[in-house]
């Protein structure tokens, strides 16, 4: 949200909610104007015609909603906000075990049946090496650190 404000210069009034579910109900009810949410949360109501999807925050269109533009192509060039998740172990886990888990998890994720299950949940699989994932986490940390700093977001004490 702060990133979109920075990219567009438009100011929004941020309404914090205790979870995406209640927020979505209030968007449908017309109490708030719009929200950001993970695709998996909103897609049912989008398909049911209760919500209109303005744009997707990834750098490319969603394979499930190819007609919906990205926010980047809708006038906020460079905007990218994606929700992702991954697997980590406690620091100090032997490198050969990390490699073995990486090998087996990526093998499972790349199985066609598994991929299909992910896609129906609105998820795209990621296949990383441990090094790629570490680099990605660091770059995301830098990116969002800048957003928090530039937007002057109050830190919770």
């Amino acid at each position: 949200m702060e990133m979109l404000q920075a990219a567009t210069g438009v100011r929004f009034n941020h309404i914090p909610y205790n979870g995406a579910g209640p927020a979505m109900n209030d968007v449908i009810g017309g109490h708030i104007d719009f929200m950001f949410a993970a695709l998996s949360i909103v897609k049912g109501n989008v398909k049911a015609g209760k919500l209109h999807m303005i744009g997707v925050g990834s750098d490319h269109r969603s394979s499930e909603f190819p007609e919906v533009p990205t926010i980047s192509e809708s006038g906020a060039p460079g905007f990218e906000a994606k929700s992702w998740f991954g697997l980590v172990a406690p620091a100090g886990t032997p490198a050969d075990i990390v490699k073995a888990i990486n090998r087996d998890v990526t093998k499972v994720i790349s199985e066609p049946a598994f991929r299909e299950q992910l896609v129906t949940q609105g998820l795209e699989p990621i296949l990383d090496t441990p090094e790629q994932f570490a680099t990605f986490i660091r770059s995301e940390t830098i990116k969002w650190g800048k957003v928090v700093k530039d937007a002057n977001i109050a830190v919770i004490k």
Partner: protein, 154 residues
């Protein structure tokens, strides 16, 4: 056939038994990659059951348990914006038997938004792999609420 002195025979078998013991002790000391995992693996999900990460964890753990021929248990440890589950894994033995499946909230967002958190998102974890992403956070509004649309979202 030459008969071995029963005393020698007995001590020989003791030697053999001792050798087996030493060998197995040596083998079990190695973190022996070929053997991983030799006991149930726990995947901590710092969210309640039912969300996207949890759903992924359940499908993944089922397939991994087949691949590894070991139990792979999903432990839901929600609370404090994922900090409770993350902290538990950060302080677990670094032996590959406790893993954390979590989203950017734990590793990127929470550390920026909280002055004090119980774990270090970079130093306390060994990244294994990214697993999935949502096709972008999406902006949605009530259908028909605003402006004329050139492209309808359906």
């Amino acid at each position: 056939m030459a008969r071995v002195n029963p005393v020698i025979e007995r001590s020989l078998s003791w030697c053999a038994a001792a050798a087996v013991l030493i060998l197995s002790a040596l083998l079990s000391q190695q973190p022996a990659l070929a053997q991983y995992p030799t006991k149930p693996v726990h995947i901590v999900v710092p969210y309640p059951a039912g969300g996207a990460v949890d759903a992924f964890a359940r499908v993944l753990s089922q397939r991994l348990s087949e691949v590894w021929n070991q139990q792979v248990v999903v432990d839901n440890r929600p609370g404090a914006s994922t900090m409770i589950g993350a902290d538990q894994v950060a302080k677990s033995p670094a032996d590959g038997y406790t893993l954390l499946l979590t989203a950017e909230l734990t590793l990127v967002t929470v550390p920026h938004l909280h002055e004090k958190i119980p774990y270090d998102p970079i130093k306390d974890f060994a990244p294994i792999t990214g697993a999935g992403r949502q096709s972008g956070a999406s902006g949605v509004e009530r259908e028909g609420s605003c402006c004329p649309r050139q492209e309808k979202a359906r």
